[in-house]
Symmetry: C2
């Protein structure tokens, strides 16, 4: 049994060893992402991931004992990344709320999209429909997304009550995620500039409109 879930080390390994293990896991998830993006979940196999990562099947399973473990770790990493990206957009120290909203919009709309993130999320939505764990993680992510957008909207327009702001935040999140459907065509997955202008105008309306 090469892999074990809960190692109970009697003495600690050196940092170099731990660093190596971390790098290997990163490389495995990178490889898994590449396969998922290129071939889709239906074609995702441990053998393909191992080949892509340049290691043997058995070695891969030393780090992730089952296929479910790999997929779970992969999706978790993407959700963490996306959450970090949202937080980073919210931060933008020293700027006015309106400027922060503009900056966040720029980030979302102009983004050349870190390779495949859109595709990973499409797979994520599909997987969430059949896997309760994935569904829970996904729902949590989008709840946070709506809350973050709502907080920003409220900073721009303090008249809004918190509940209304959160709902409009959900509208914004829905809009941005739905826009990925119009991103497919054209090479760098960028939206037509005229459409981007229309999105900006719509967000401005949503930010400045008084609460119900």
């Amino acid at each position: 049994m090469p892999a074990r879930r809960e190692p109970a080390p009697r003495h600690r390994a050196g940092t170099a060893v731990l660093a190596k293990g971390r790098e290997r896991r990163t490389a495995i998830l990178d490889a898994a992402t590449a396969v998922l993006v290129e071939d889709g979940y239906g074609q995702l196999s441990l053998r393909k991931i191992a080949a892509r990562a340049g290691i043997r099947l058995g070695n891969l399973q030393y780090y992730y004992a089952t296929k479910a473990d790999v997929v779970r770790a992969l999706l978790e990493r993407w959700l963490v990344r996306a959450r970090d990206a949202i937080d980073a957009r919210m931060a933008a120290h020293g700027a006015s709320p309106a400027a922060r909203l503009d900056a966040a919009l720029d980030g979302i709309l102009a983004d050349a999209e870190p390779a495949g993130s859109t595709r990973v999320f499409w797979e994520l939505w599909a997987l969430a429909a059949h896997d309760p764990d994935v569904a829970t993680a996904t729902d949590g992510f989008y709840a946070d997304y709506a809350a973050a957008a709502g907080t920003l909207l409220r900073a721009v327009n303090p008249v809004l009550d918190a509940a209304t702001a959160r709902r409009r935040g959900a509208l914004l999140a829905s809009l941005f995620e739905g826009l990925s459907l119009y991103r497919r065509r054209s090479a760098p997955h960028r939206l037509p500039p005229a459409l981007v202008d229309e999105v900006r105008a719509a967000v401005r309306m949503l930010a400045t409109a008084p609460g119900a």
Copy 2:
């Protein structure tokens, strides 16, 4: 070779026979949809579809020679249905444009969602990322969706030029599709009423705002 792509009949079969074939194909696609919705594309197999439809594997392949043929027909049927639903919402004879927009919104938002249609579309987006044929069909559908929504917006607000209306139509389509991400929780996949009200208000703004 039980299945052939291009039959070249020397004489025509009776209508009863053709009707039976049509029913069988419908039953097969119904079964395939059920499996897709319940288990996801990764678990979709011809054997499962056949069992679900109550026929043998070989018989299924008499109607659809390959797995790709089943999937293609399945997705095509869903896209046709969705397009018909959009057209039907546009039609609503005799009503004012504003009433038609309201009615269309009601249809989209209050819909208890024909079983699994949301899930089918999530799978569709994921598949489109890897299959050029599916991508083409999907892109065509969403272009039509944006155009239809744009036409309705322009009927409500004739000041809008056609291009702007179409872009706002794309925004509406994105918003509605993205909202499916907030539909997952809660049993009948219905959106919270307060959120629905917010959507209505946003659509009203988008319809009445002057063009750029």
